[in-house]
């Protein structure tokens, strides 16, 4: 019944051009600005002490300082991003290091299944390795040609464009390899364990 419901008097905005509409997942709307959403205060992180760790179920954990991280092979990523709060922004231009490049520095344990992104401020989010490899995820340090500002997750944030934006953890400090897909912060607070916008996996149970 709910599927056939029509809201009296609602026509909606003029529909986007066909090509554009095909890039906007269901229940999302297009924005042109870059909204900020975080669960707590914005941490201020000193680049002199900044570190990114790749730890957990790997043979030898790795840590990169800021200069070491910047020396890793970086790429430009132009991606569409969808936030569970229903905004979608097209063609966001990032620069960063792919998770594939990071993983080249370690040997994964045979039972490695997922990653936990651990952040300054205590935020965590979970990802399956199958959602993180093959160019699907990267650690960004530039947005639109400029250093990533703190309120958008700088110095470095994870970006996983094909999942809702809460998976793109701000203020990243570690990626921990794990053998189970356990819920992170929002996933423990009612949000979906995976968060695919095209399947509208917004909340746990969707």
């Amino acid at each position: 019944m709910a599927e056939r419901f029509v809201t009296r008097g609602f026509g909606g905005r003029p529909r986007s051009a066909v090509g554009l509409a095909a890039r906007i997942p269901p229940g999302q709307h297009l924005v042109t600005d870059f909204p900020v959403l975080s669960a707590g205060p914005t941490p201020r992180i000193d680049l002199a002490t900044w570190e990114l760790a790749l730890s957990g179920l790997v043979r030898a954990p790795v840590k990169w300082s800021w200069p070491e991280f910047l020396a890793l092979p970086a790429e430009e990523f132009t991606k569409d991003i969808s936030c569970v709060t229903t905004w979608t922004k097209l063609d966001m231009r990032w620069r960063g290091v792919s998770v594939d490049t990071l993983l080249e520095h370690v040997e994964l344990a045979p039972n490695a299944l997922g990653l936990v992104a651990e952040c300054h401020g205590g935020y965590t989010t979970n990802l399956l390795l199958s959602d993180a490899v093959n160019g699907q995820a990267f650690v960004a340090y530039e947005y639109d040609g400029k250093p990533l500002p703190p309120d958008h997750g700088g110095p470095g944030r994870l970006v996983v464009p094909h999942l809702y934006f809460w998976k793109s953890a701000k203020w990243l400090r570690a990626l921990r390899v794990v053998d189970r897909d356990r819920p992170g912060f929002w996933e423990s607070n009612g949000y979906h364990i995976r968060g695919d916008p095209w399947k509208e996996e917004r909340y746990s149970g969707d």
């Binding site: 609602f10 026509g11 909606g12 900020v36």
Partner: protein
């Protein structure tokens, strides 16, 4: 009925709060008790199947059964809020699902306190649910609300807030654009001094909720951290120009 199932709510009452803000009372066939601070998703469907969906904070107390109030600001060029403000009349039906959200929530009987609330504009809506909840259960937890509005006429729930400011609830207004003659509240944007004055009696462990436009939330959260409030006791909810 579960919180993720869409249901058809009937709008039974529309109450203007300010020139740009209205409260909508929704009667819910599948009402579920919410926690103060939670939201509902609301979606509109056009005859051709096109849909627009937004999240709106619940303004009413969880203790009110069978219906909820959503207080919604009309956003410039906002597809959903403009429709709700300009087209919807009592008796109309909309699809909603909820209550949703397990983080920016407060339970007067279990969450503890004291509670510091910092709100800007329609960011006061989830705080209102908390204050109404506190009153409904007769809790004694001390609560201070610092509420920033542009002008006197932009203050949402002005009279009800005044009546709620009793028995451990204190409300501090700041008006950033203009102030009426004889105004005794703050008259500037929220800053370090103001936050220090309002938060001081509660000390570093106050459970803090901040909701409003991004710049306000950013500066208030940073400022409270500088004032030594514990970051893990500060919960924020932000909305930008596109957040509605």
């Amino acid at each position: 009925m579960n919180t993720l199932q869409w249901q058809i709510a009937t709008i039974t009452k529309i109450t203007p709060e300010t020139a740009k803000v209205k409260s909508f009372t929704l009667s819910l066939p599948g009402w579920i008790k919410h926690r103060a601070g939670q939201h509902y998703d609301l979606r509109l469907t056009a005859p051709d199947g096109y849909r627009a969906q937004r999240s709106y904070s619940i303004a009413s107390a969880p203790e009110r059964t069978g219906e909820i109030d959503l207080t919604i600001e009309r956003v410039e060029d906002g597809e959903v809020s403009t429709f709700l403000h300009q087209v919807v009349v009592p008796g109309d039906r909309v699809e909603v699902r909820g209550p949703i959200g397990g983080y920016f929530v407060w339970d007067a009987t279990t969450s503890g306190g004291p509670v510091l609330l910092v709100a800007g504009g329609s960011g006061v809506v989830p705080m209102m649910s908390m204050l109404r909840h506190r009153a409904a259960v007769g809790a004694k937890v001390p609560v201070r609300l610092l509420y920033s509005s542009r002008t006197y006429d932009d203050v949402i729930y002005r009279e009800e807030l005044a009546s709620l400011a009793t028995g451990g609830v204190e409300i501090f207004h700041t008006l950033t654009r203009s102030q009426p003659a004889g105004w005794t509240g703050y008259a500037r944007r929220i800053d370090d001094t103001m936050l220090a004055e309002v938060s001081r009696p509660f000390g570093a462990s106050a459970l803090t909720f901040i909701c409003g436009p991004t710049p306000l939330v950013e500066s208030a959260a940073t400022s409270l951290e500088r004032a030594s409030l514990r970051a893990d006791r500060i919960k924020t909810e932000r909305f930008g120009p596109t957040g509605t």
